[in-house]
Amino acid sequence: MYTQALNTPDREDRCVEDAARAAQFQARIDAEERIEPNDWMPSAYRKTLTRQISQHAHSEIVGMLPEGNWITRAPSLRRKAALLAKVQDECGHGLYLYAAAETLGASREELVDLMLAGKAKYSSIFNYPTLSWADIGTIGWLVDGAAIMNQIPLCRCSYGPYARAMIRVCKEESFHQRQGFEIMLTLCRGTEAQKAMAQDALDRWWWPVLMMFGPPDKLSQHSDASTRWKIKRFSNDELRQKFVDATVPQAQFLGLTIPDPGMKQNEAGNWVYSAIDWEEFNQVIAGNGPCNRDRLAARRKAHDEGAWVREAAQAYAEKRRQRTALQAAE
């Protein structure tokens, strides 16, 4: 679903590498060449991408939890089938992304272990609860909408396997946003109580969704290198503004009010939003959001309870290997 601007460069990455190779690498990036797994790359580039792609993958996997919460309670079979398909897509996106990260030399197992140990981050947005059915509509409409805004430029990211994975993801993401908007539209055309439920969901999700784009440009620590390497093509604030400008007319169409009374349109036509509470963002990132502990506990439980499946698959493969070897010997 989404990766966030969480990367912070490590000091150790700044070691001096072969200057000629580094210059050659940058020249390739500047010429819009894609970097492929077997190409030489600076270790900081490899590290930044491994972190970003794996965090993106973790976000997809953890992102299944808030929505999975409503599968059994979807209001109709149509909605249930759609939600199930969407959650299944998020799982698929996680798998594409882990595979892209593995081309950089890390194994999926080790990346997942880092997440389960609480050492790898995932998008802050999934640490918020889904309290009503309208939250499912809001997630599709806004969370996936924000994810699309962020992911479309990633389709042109300098690292080939990541860019190609994102093309696939973006294609599938369109269904997610539309199903969310349809839920919102149905609620907004429904009873007063249904519309109030939609408004309540928007009120709760609006600010956390704006935070998905990461810290403001003036505080963002990682952007310089990522921009130079063309991993990132737009700044956090640029993407946030694009998202707000696209979303305001959609909210107006629904007849919902964005919970920002100070919001105004400027002369250029951009919607200027009020100050974002970055302290809340920092708290959520630090593990103190409303659901951080639940999410990690749910992932650990699933991982532990799935251990026998991994073991059984290994044992079965081994048995078949031995049988084939035996037949060959006869």
């Binding site: 089938a81 897509d89 860019a163 946003q177 539309r178 199903q179 169409f253």
Partner: protein
Amino acid sequence: MPTPNTPLWEVFIRSRNGLAHKHVGSLHATDATLALQAARDIYTRRGEGLSIWVVPSNAITASDPAEKGMMFEPAESKIYRHPTFYEVPDEVGHM
């Protein structure tokens, strides 16, 4: 004495910067190095590619086309996996 078989390789070519390798055909070669060189000579005589992969044909596990009905049936009935399944009024614009 019959001529011994030379192993078969599948050839994949990245045609342009940023694209994935795509299967273009196969060839015979006694080892991977020769397969790469042969692939260059057979499949990229007119600058068709930037990069070549060769994979032993017997390393490929394929689904059975005769069973494609059963294989892909689960996806066919799920029209709600497509964005066009959802009603979004034209006034809302592209989504």
